[in-house]
């Protein structure tokens, strides 16, 4: 059985709870905390036509207002069945996901049987805990049928990576209570109110006693976002920027020595700032806050990354930028949209996309594929790693590769092209997996597949492909030849 929490951590020592805290804790354990048991099925990106292995897991959650249960997205991702149980009640309650935010690792569950909530006590959300203050962490660490509580102090408040999506970083509170598999989704409480959701530990041998919780600003943002009945992604400026500490760079860009401004290095096409910001623009202000040369801003008397100003916005919101371009000040407005690329994000609750033709398996490269398959082809590895950094996305929105070969006489000489990137089929440029499907759908005597850098094309004769079709599908147990929709 898999227990939730990623990355994995060291074991916690159980804390002897103080008498006063215990009183509040017992109430909470019985009336707010829930144990979440799941059966999940994770897609198989090595054999994408297969349904994937079935797995079980245990996490925690807690009741909040309006008969909802808050937990981590990673506790209920790819779930086929979700049951909720509580202390002192032998019944299992079937739950379903109402909203899920993979970018901030949060999910809301609802129950078919609403009477469950009658005896439950919804927890209230508090603000950010102060550094050095004490918090209690509730959950079901390393499995177990009964709840556990540990105590820690707030060590640090900072931006950290969220490992569930693998591509997001948001505000995180670091505490010194160990957070273990099974703690995930459990409430972190101070003075009877929630200050966070336990979600990940520190994976490494350098540091010890490091646990991370999702603080309430992130939770509240999630709850606000779904108020319209739909979860939108976080928004992003979709630029890269560079701090302007260097005096020569400041002078060359026509800036005074006032420690303000970061330089725009790159503006991603189709992102929020595309067509508004330009490389070498200097951002000196954001929504009225001065942007310091290290990319920070002062909000509410604390100094945080300017990203925090964007974090607080929602899809369609606007942000005002004070920019210096070619030495002249400009006021620009950016309408905020989610980050335009999902390539490097772990995806959940989607089915792998693929297409099989003549025993050749074509798949788009994405993080899920990369996690499941070893890429040894140097060109393909480079294309994935540098897809954004080297603007490769401008040529092709997707990198479609020959991911696997279901060996058959029709493809006996295709092995040279394994993991190569498809460039064109019968002269038609391939930019997405759909292009591959369209090209093979067009009647032709033979299909000439050109791969990037391969020199020679791979030729498949339509007759041979047709003759091999049933043989391959039956022989390899392929139920479905393609899945083009996630």
């Amino acid at each position: 059985m898999r227990q939730f929490l990623r990355p994995t951590v060291f074991l916690a020592s159980f804390v002897a709870v103080l008498a006063c805290a215990q009183a509040a804790g017992e109430d909470l354990i019985h009336k707010s905390l829930v144990r979440i048991q799941t059966v999940s099925q994770n897609p198989d990106y090595t054999s994408p036509w297969n349904a994937g292995p079935i797995d079980q897991g245990i996490g925690a959650g807690f009741v909040i207002s309006n008969d909802r249960i808050l937990t981590n997205a990673h506790v209920v991702s790819n779930a086929r069945m979700i049951w909720v149980t509580r202390e002192g009640d032998p019944n299992r309650y079937t739950a379903s996901v109402e909203y899920i935010a993979h970018d901030s690792d949060l999910a809301l569950l609802k129950l078919a049987n609403a009477s469950f909530f009658k005896t439950m006590l919804p927890l209230e959300l508090d603000g950010l805990p102060t550094i050095e203050s004490t918090v209690l962490v509730y959950g079901y660490p390393i499995g177990g049928d009964h709840p556990s509580v540990t105590r820690g102090i707030v060590s640090r408040i900072d931006f950290e990576d969220y490992s569930h999506s693998g591509a997001d970083s948001h505000l995180v509170v670091q505490i010194d209570a160990a957070i273990n598999p099974g703690n995930s989704g459990g409430p972190v409480v101070q003075n009877g109110k929630v200050v966070g959701v336990a979600f990940q530990g520190y994976n490494g041998d350098v540091a010890q006693n490091v646990g991370y919780i999702i603080p309430t600003p992130v939770i509240k943002r999630f709850l606000t976002d779904i108020a319209d009945g739909h979860y939108d992604h976080y928004v992003d400026l979709a630029i890269t920027d560079f701090p302007l500490d260097n005096p020569a760079a400041r002078h060359a860009l026509g800036l005074p020595d006032n420690s303000l401004g970061v330089m725009v290095s790159r503006v991603f096409a189709k992102g929020s700032s595309d067509g508004i910001l330009e490389p070498r623009d200097v951002i000196v202000g954001m929504d009225g806050h001065s942007v310091f040369s290290d990319g920070s801003v002062d909000i509410d008397r604390s100094n945080v990354s300017m990203a925090e100003l964007v974090e607080r916005k929602f899809k369609g919101d606007k942000i005002q930028l004070d920019v210096i371009r070619n030495g002249k000040p400009l006021k620009l407005t950016v309408g905020l949209q989610p980050y335009p690329f999902e390539l490097y994000e772990n995806a959940y609750d989607v089915k792998p996309r693929y297409l099989i033709f003549g025993g050749l398996v074509f798949q788009p490269l994405d993080q899920n594929f990369i996690s499941a398959n070893q890429i040894t082809n140097p060109r393909t590895r480079y294309y994935f790693d540098h897809f954004l950094a080297d603007n490769l996305y401008k040529d092709r929105p997707e990198i479609v590769i020959l991911s696997n070969i279901l060996s058959d006489p029709v493809n006996a000489y295709a092995n040279d092209f394994r993991q190569d990137i498809v460039d064109s089929i019968n002269g038609a440029k391939v930019r997405t997996l759909d292009d591959v499907a369209a090209a093979f759908d067009k009647p032709a005597d033979s299909y000439v597949i050109e791969f990037l850098g391969a020199g020679r094309p791979l030729v498949l004769e339509a007759k041979a492909v047709a003759a091999a079709r049933q043989r391959i599908l039956a022989g390899y147990g392929v139920g479905k030849e393609s899945n083009l929709k996630p």
């Binding site: 060359a252 330089m263 391969a454």
Partner: protein, 504 residues
């Protein structure tokens, strides 16, 4: 696929051996003499490509050299690569003498040494080279006991092929032997004899499979002939990549008839002999020098058996001249003449190997610029292909696809923190596109462009983030001596051009 995409580069064997080698075949009982070999002890010191102004710790390489005519000693080039000091020792009496490297060719992995005192070779017996050595031949690998006695290990030639040589990027004729070699001192390079004649020099040994690769006599003979013709011309390369035509669907697509054979030309390098010959991507190369090619690009050699046609281009011919190619193009046979030319060193974008000279670099106000080379990438260790910066690895690996006017790839290799580079510490690996508005094709371009700051600033345009770096030109000049002193830099640049350096 990968091996077939490597531009085959190769070279070959002389039809006529020098007169001294045309002796009668040795009697079966003939054995090499200890008087034909000497110990070679070379103290080498490689350059550090990460800190190109420094050298690494010196180390010794000990091998066995073979005495050949003209008072010369033959060894593999690897023994003396980056040598500081070379010493020869007679096995019998331990007499020692210093030596100079008369000639080295890293492509064929061969070097010629000369003792500082010719009398050192008095009483030695120059060896002659074997010929017509075929698969199955019984040979002896020569090693030396500490006493100076000859230790011979019998071995059998198992395979003859054309493989990539260990030092540079060329593929040449290679003999593989099977031999259970014991570890002995002075084993870095070992001569292998057929009777008393030199069959080759051992260049790599795999103790698990007990197999070893030799630079065979055929390559050595050709090398010595090239050395005799001044100026030296390296082993010719065609400058193309090819794919086999085994796939029947591909053969029908190409219009190849049942009896027709050959290989598909997958790419032709800019400025290469193949391009000069008029060869094009998509041609089917059917014959080289009158030898028909099979679907994998092999031909039948009377001595070596079925080997890749690259051998005909690299080693089976004299320097200069041309080789006839028969090509199938649009269903018609076309005859082309391939000029036999070695690689032009100036045309190489990322050098596969650099020895005996310091890496080029240029430091501008603490920003260290270098030209991309494989030795630089290899500083990341055995897993350099996955550990070194991916963009640089990619450019090295696929440099043949870069535009003809690429020149070198100049990149920011590191930042020495200084007043001038404040805030630039984390910028690394960026490829330089322009400096002060001038396009950069090599470090000399960069040095020249740095003489022309714009409005008092040096502006360095990088391909990757942050896109641009600025330096205060006056501050750069003023900080030069401080930079040199604080980081112990002997010089702020090395722009020595290998093309203008005398060959050793």
């Amino acid at each position: 696929m990968m091996s077939l995409r490597i531009p085959f580069l190769a070279a070959l064997v002389l039809a006529l051996a020098p007169a001294s080698m045309l002796r009668a075949e040795p009697a079966a009982s003939a054995l090499p003499s200890v008087a034909s070999i000497v110990r070679v002890n070379s103290t080498n010191q490689a350059y550090n490509f990460v800190r190109p102004w420094t050298k690494r710790s010196p180390f010794d390489r000990r091998g066995i050299g073979v005495v050949i005519d003209g008072g010369r000693i033959l060894v593999t080039a690897e023994v003396i690569a980056n040598h500081n000091f070379v010493e020869l020792e007679r096995p019998a009496n331990s007499e020692k003498v210093t030596a100079t490297v008369e000639f080295v060719d890293y492509e064929s992995n061969l070097a010629i040494l000369k003792p500082s005192d010719p009398k050192f070779l008095d009483g030695t017996q120059p060896v002659s080279l074997a010929k017509d050595v075929k698969v199955g031949a019984k040979v002896n690998v020569a090693q030396l006991e500490p006493t100076g006695a000859l230790a011979l290990t019998p071995a059998t030639i198992t395979t003859i092929s054309v493989n990539r040589y260990p030092v540079d990027s060329i593929s040449l004729l290679t003999y593989r032997i099977s031999a259970p070699l014991q570890y002995r001192d002075y084993s870095f390079t070992l001569p292998v004899f057929l009777g008393d004649r030199l069959a080759g020099l051992l260049m790599r040994y795999d103790s698990r499979s007990q197999s070893a690769d030799l630079v065979p006599y055929a390559v050595i003979t050709n090398f010595l002939d090239r050395v005799a013709r001044k100026p030296y011309q390296g082993f010719p390369r065609a400058g193309l990549t090819f794919s086999p035509t085994r796939d029947p669907q591909f053969r029908r697509y190409l219009g190849l008839k049942a009896g027709q054979s050959g290989v598909y030309i997958a790419s032709v390098l800019h400025g290469s002999p193949a391009e000069k010959a008029g060869l094009r991507k998509g041609d089917v190369l059917m014959q080289v020098d009158g030898e028909p090619l099979d679907q994998d690009g092999n031909y039948d050699d009377p001595t070596f058996g079925k080997i890749p046609f690259g051998h005909l281009i690299s080693t089976a011919s004299l320097p200069g001249g041309t080789l006839a190619l028969h090509v199938l193009r649009d269903g018609k046979e076309v005859k082309l003449d391939l000029p036999l030319e070695p690689r032009d060193p100036a045309s190489v974008i990322s050098e596969p190997a650099i020895f005996d000279r310091a890496p080029r670099y240029y430091i501008l106000g603490g920003l260290v610029f270098q030209e991309l080379s494989q030795p630089y990438l290899r500083e990341w260790g055995v897993n350099w292909k996955s550990d070194a910066p991916a963009r640089l690895v990619y450019l090295d690996e696929f440099q043949d696809e870069l535009p003809a006017d690429q020149g070198k790839i100049v990149f920011l290799s590191q930042v020495l923190p200084a007043d001038t580079t404040l805030g630039y510490d984390d910028v690394e690996g960026g490829i330089v596109k322009k400096v002060n508005g001038r396009p950069i094709h090599n470090l000399n371009d960069l040095a020249a462009a740095a003489e022309h700051p714009v409005n008092g600033f040096d502006e360095i345009d990088l391909e990757s983030d942050p896109g641009v770096l600025y330096l205060d030109a006056q501050q750069v000049k003023a900080s030069e001596s401080r930079l040199r002193d604080s980081y112990g830099l002997p010089s702020l640049n090395n722009l020595d051009d290998p093309a203008t350096q005398p060959a050793k």
